[in-house]
């Protein structure tokens, strides 16, 4: 039980710290693209670790008590984690593409290679 508590503390600590960094970066960075860079990657990483903590906790409780509620909790947490991993970077990519096409440019950049490539 001590090992389980240590693993839970480490994983939840990593997850909460990265979520905190993501939301602070969202507040403090200068333009859309750097905010997207900070918030999306950091919160995805942190949410993966908090979900891992829940999955490990559920499997270990199932292993100890044999209650089928916990294995259902673990499997549903795995499905939610897969949905989060697939949908979050895709949404960030769509936001960045829409921001560039709607005319919002990076604030301190000196070159815009996506505009020079004439992909549109």
């Amino acid at each position: 039980m001590g090992i389980l508590l240590a693993i839970l503390y480490i994983f939840l600590g990593i997850g909460v710290i990265f979520n905190c960094l993501g939301s602070i970066g969202l507040l403090r960075f200068p333009d859309v693209y750097t905010r997207l860079h900070a918030s999306t990657k950091a919160t995805t990483f942190g949410s993966i670790f908090t979900s891992f903590a829940v999955i490990i906790y559920s499997f270990s409780r199932w292993n100890v008590s044999g209650d089928s509620k916990f294995v259902v909790l673990a499997l549903h947490a795995i499905v939610a984690l897969i949905c989060l991993i697939i949908t979050n970077p895709t949404g960030a990519h769509a936001i960045a593409r829409a921001a560039h096409r709607s005319g919002v440019m990076p604030k301190q950049a000196v070159i815009d290679q996506l505009k020079e490539a004439k992909l549109e």
Partner: protein, 90 residues
């Protein structure tokens, strides 16, 4: 409640504070993509926090709600991005 309740509900409360920080950007944001980024961050934090609350109260239904919320918020983000992209194209 059992001994694991506090371990999961305290990070859930911290995620709630981070949601409020992102809400400041959602209100202040100078351009529309800033607000969409803030909304996307809030959605991710809501999903993560809902999984934690489901583990704290040992209820599976919270995690099911988190799955549906993740998919619907993804569709909402894509819809708003598509709207923003087509608005100034022509």
């Amino acid at each position: 409640m059992n001994e694991f309740f506090k371990i999961f509900i305290i990070p859930g409360g911290l995620l709630l504070i981070f949601m409020l920080l992102s809400l400041v950007r959602l209100i202040l944001g100078p351009t529309t993509p800033d607000r969409i980024v803030a909304l996307d961050t809030i959605n991710t934090l809501v999903v993560a926090g809902m999984i934690l609350v489901g583990a704290a109260y040992e209820e599976v239904i919270y995690v099911d709600v988190a799955i549906v919320y993740a998919l619907l918020s993804y569709i909402g983000t894509l819809y708003v991005a598509k709207y923003l992209e087509g608005r100034t194209k022509k």
